[in-house]
Symmetry: C2
């Protein structure tokens, strides 16, 4: 059975020593780092002691559908009750509706821990959080007052109903209809699939946010509206009333996240209310989706972390063979497999990615706080630009590194990694979905090259290129950092060159941008992680000489930085090269040649 | 539900047009390509119509253990009966024991098809085949006469019992004991784990090949002997007699290959007989393992192929959005997702790997036939050197590309790829084991750099470097191939340089070789695939101008070759660079620094 310990030391290092999270107190008057530490310690305990112990059993048991009702695995109801009673759903929510009003950055750390401990569990409050954000931004005061207090307390939960059997990425094709009633409500009819938390037994009500088309809708995505459709229609006193015709027809059997219910939802003239303006549903949905995309990236981070912890433990305990350079532990029947360079390479690949992604994730979360709270509109804009640019990168790269990382963690355990009881294979199966949902990673790459690069004449790009360029310049003469600054400066130049190349070629032929997209996203991500590693290495190098008993931490940080720059960053060479080969290697093949053309042998 | 069609056209192209398989008739007098085609067509039908239809249900149902007995999923017994009645287990076996005596190359193609159709099923006859090979080479005439006819017919099945709870890679640690009886037999006692096909209901007897230590065994791997331990001890008439004390204690619950039983086998003074000489069991086991390692590579190839076929079908059928360059199918509500560059990149990555690996696999299989049958000892030696060198590369690279490829195939299906009923996620889960068993891919890389590179003063390397260098030289002025020869010549030079570097640094410090090993294996594999692609491109370029109705096949082959050289081969740049960074980025981290050192915050 795997274990988990919240990595509070590294979290502390990133938030306090690298990112100086205390600066957020300028925007959150009640915020201070001592309180934050206390909260995160409690959050860690909850994840370690309540959520993690039901992760494996939840996977084995899964959710069960019976005549429209869904039962979550044993212990989930009790854990959810503890979760709500301690006020955890309210952590980052608005105090006006019962929230604790803490920075998004703190909530992001908590999300990482939840996903390490029990991703399936985390999806229930995670979806609610998305619903809260959408209602906060687009809901009328009536809707807010009816729904937000119950969603913030966790008494009710939320969903996002987008996908239909024939459409996922292309929401312009949706067929779910909304017909106005005379009282201002609507009759919603249609079938939605892949609805996470669409039905379950954790809460007394479930609030669906549903994309549908009004009778006068223009075609395509410009004709989509957003509706709120509760499972039970709230009574005047905001307690659940009449059962609405929003029913779970079945649940999916999936590769992983088995304790999270994935529902087919049938809306059969269900009563709903418009959220925001008619035909402007996509805009509202994007509020949820952008937050959700970063949250999915965090899921990857959390899974990679827990897989790393357990892989290291195994590599220390498993005695097998001897070190290539001769026996290291003569008192043992064999050396622990951690002596082997390739086992170390697997572990360090995970760790350099995890710690780099963690720094970037927390920095993005802090920028979201700046966007929400900074008094200066220019600062808000810069923060928003940075987050918008990095969101597809974080979603795709964090989840790719999580799948690859959990696979490496599993590999360290050899055959035991393939056996269910060891738990390492569950991390792989759970991580896999994060590359797919909230827009596949291919769609993230298209968002990056097709939307974010060119947006506002490249303004989003400048929110990244300018400060990174300035920092490289500032550190260029720092002898303690030259081993990092030198390769990063080269990789940064490659990123700038390929950006210009894609912008130029993509204007003439969008397939050129599409053909470069996933390699470009990965190149961008590696440079962004390199920047984070430069920041972390700088702090570590400064602190190490006087660190005393904490020296091993800073020393390990510098060694991991070295690994990143020597072993992971060089992938940028190949990526720049393959991007340069353009679209024709992909586009020249005729459609019918993808299924192998016949050669006139065999059955033809 | 996924489908499968045996890729007979590509098989025909590789065997007949590229590798000139007809030359094997010099060694196999009864072999001709017309017979081979007929056999492969029948084999394809069996895989498509008998084995593939029970692959999904086998995964859902799994094997069931009950009081020492194991039941395979519905349909497996019937399929195995059909399989044996048609004589398929005997395909490549010696006619002296009822085999059909066909070349190994033909059997390899059949193995690929079986693994595409139903990997779990294929493991039962696959393990038997390993037992046949070991007995053929090391068994006494008595043992051969007792066991081989039944194993060749499929009436009985075989296993390999190596791993114990505390040892897998390091077999020197095994504790299973063999005590001589007075009649020449032995009492075998110990526990073996991860025993594929250790117990099941397909055959009337199961023949275990067990590694154990004699009382006078020297320590380590030099003290291991091989024993044959039948489930039922054959009577004088070679029918199953007394039940032996070799009992299945439980089966593992695994990530995949769920219809293949993975058993804990308890030997409790079970009766066994020595195979080969005392203390020479590792040598005999390597006979089975080397064949098994190539067979595991073929498993990867088969899984990638079936995933590719289904991903292409989906990409052609799924209508979603429009091409980036404007509508391609105006009569449809949306374009098929195959119009998108990144979907094409995923598919072409799979295909360029699959077709390259197929060519290399079949070539290796033909070299095995040369090794077994060629009258000239020098030719046999060259063939054996080539196979020994390429075996770890094929095992590790084919299975890595299969896992990565099946993941890409699943990605093409988006959310549907994550749902069990679509079957794409099963290919990923099934492919995952192939990177682990028969020596993890990290162990394969160590075998390559630690054993194969230096063996016999680099003689194994010459079996690859000399003919490849000569072919590059011969084609260097061929204008039709310059686009392939030029990048391959550079990559080949990188391979030669890194080989020299590793040999030189590894002599002084074995950790240097270990630190380079997995990157070096991948670099080697990409160059080897490049060579295969050069051979295939040459044939395609020659045939294309006069190919008539077959032109689309050769044209597609050239386009896939281009994709390989432009998009996949450039990874060699980064690999050469990371290999050059040496061992210190991996070895400098202290053992205790792998678990994050404390920073004195939190609960510390």
């Amino acid at each position: 059975m795997p274990t988990y310990k919240a990595p509070l030391d590294d979290i502390h290092f990133v938030l306090n020593e690298v990112l100086k999270v205390e600066q957020l107190s300028a925007h959150y008057p009640d915020f201070d780092t001592a309180t934050m530490s206390a909260i995160l310690e409690e959050a860690g305990k909850l994840c370690e002691e309540v959520l993690q112990p039901i992760n494996r059993s939840g996977d084995e048991e899964g959710c069960v559908w019976n005549n429209g009702e869904v039962t979550t695995p044993k212990g989930f109801k009790e854990a959810y009750k503890i979760f709500c009673e301690a006020g955890w759903p309210a952590l980052g929510c608005d105090p006006a509706y019962g929230g604790q009003g803490l920075p998004h950055a703190v909530n992001t750390v908590f999300e990482e821990m939840i996903c390490s401990a029990n991703l399936s569990f985390g999806m229930y409050p995670g979806l609610s959080r998305g619903a809260v954000d959408a209602l906060m931004q687009w809901g009328s005061d009536d809707l807010k007052n009816s729904y937000l207090p119950k969603l913030v307390s966790g008494e009710w939960s939320g969903t996002m109903c987008l996908t239909e059997p024939h459409c996922g990425t292309d929401l312009g094709l949706i067929r779910t209809k909304a017909i106005p009633n005379t009282d201002g409500s609507y009759k919603i009819s249609g079938t939605k699939i892949f609805i996470s938390a669409g039905e379950h037994d954790l809460t007394s009500n479930i609030i669906h946010l549903v994309l549908a088309k009004l009778p006068d809708a223009p075609p395509g995505t410009r004709g989509i509206s957003l509706f709120i459709v509760p499972k039970f229609i709230p009574k005047a006193d905001n307690t659940p009333g009449e059962r609405n015709k929003a029913v779970c027809g079945s649940i999916e059997h999936k590769m992983g996240i088995k304790a999270s219910s994935t529902c087919v939802m049938n809306f059969d003239e269900a009563t709903g209310w418009l959220v925001g303006e008619p035909h402007k549903g996509m805009r509202a949905m994007f509020t949820m989706m952008n937050a959700a995309r970063l949250a999915v990236g965090i899921q990857g981070l959390g899974l990679a972390e827990v897989s790393y912890q357990n892989a290291v433990a195994y590599a220390n305990e498993r005695l097998q063979g001897r070190a290539l350079t001769g026996t290291k532990f003569p008192d043992k029947p064999a050396d622990p497999i951690l002596v082997h360079p390739d086992v170390r390479k697997n572990l360090l690949t995970m760790r350099a990615n995890i710690e780099g992604c963690r720094a970037l994730a927390y920095w993005m979360a802090m920028q979201i706080d700046v966007f929400h709270k900074h008094p200066d509109a220019k600062e808000r804009q810069k923060a928003d630009d940075f987050v918008a640019l990095l969101t597809p990168i974080a979603k795709a790269y964090f989840t790719d590194m999580a799948y690859e990382g959990c696979t490496l963690g599993q590999q360290v355990l050899g055959g035991h990694g393939y056996i269910r009881e060891w738990g390492m294979e569950q991390f792989v199966r759970d991580a896999r979905i994060a590359q797919i949902y909230e827009g596949t990673n291919g769609i993230q790459a298209l968002d990056l090259v097709g939307r974010k690069l060119g947006q506002d004449m490249g303004r989003l790009l400048r929110s990244f290129f300018h400060p990174m360029g300035a920092e490289l310049e500032a550190e260029s003469a720092n002898p303690a950092l030259i081993e990092f600054v030198a390769p990063l400066t080269k990789a940064f130049a490659k990123l700038q060159q390929t950006t210009a190349l894609i912008a130029q070629k993509g204007l003439k032929n969008p397939d050129e941008a599409g053909a470069a997209s996933t390699d470009y996203l990965r190149l961008f991500a590696l440079v962004a992680l390199g920047w984070m590693w430069l920041k972390m290495a700088k702090v570590a190098a400064e602190k190490l000489p006087t660190a005393g008993g904490q020296a091993p931490f800073y020393d390990a940080k510098l060694k991991t930085a070295r690994f990143f720059f020597l072993r992971l960053l060089p992938a940028t060479d190949t990526l720049a090269k393959t991007i340069g080969t353009g679209a024709s290697p992909l586009m020249d093949m005729a459609h019918e040649q993808f299924a192998l053309p016949p050669l006139g042998v065999g059955r033809g």
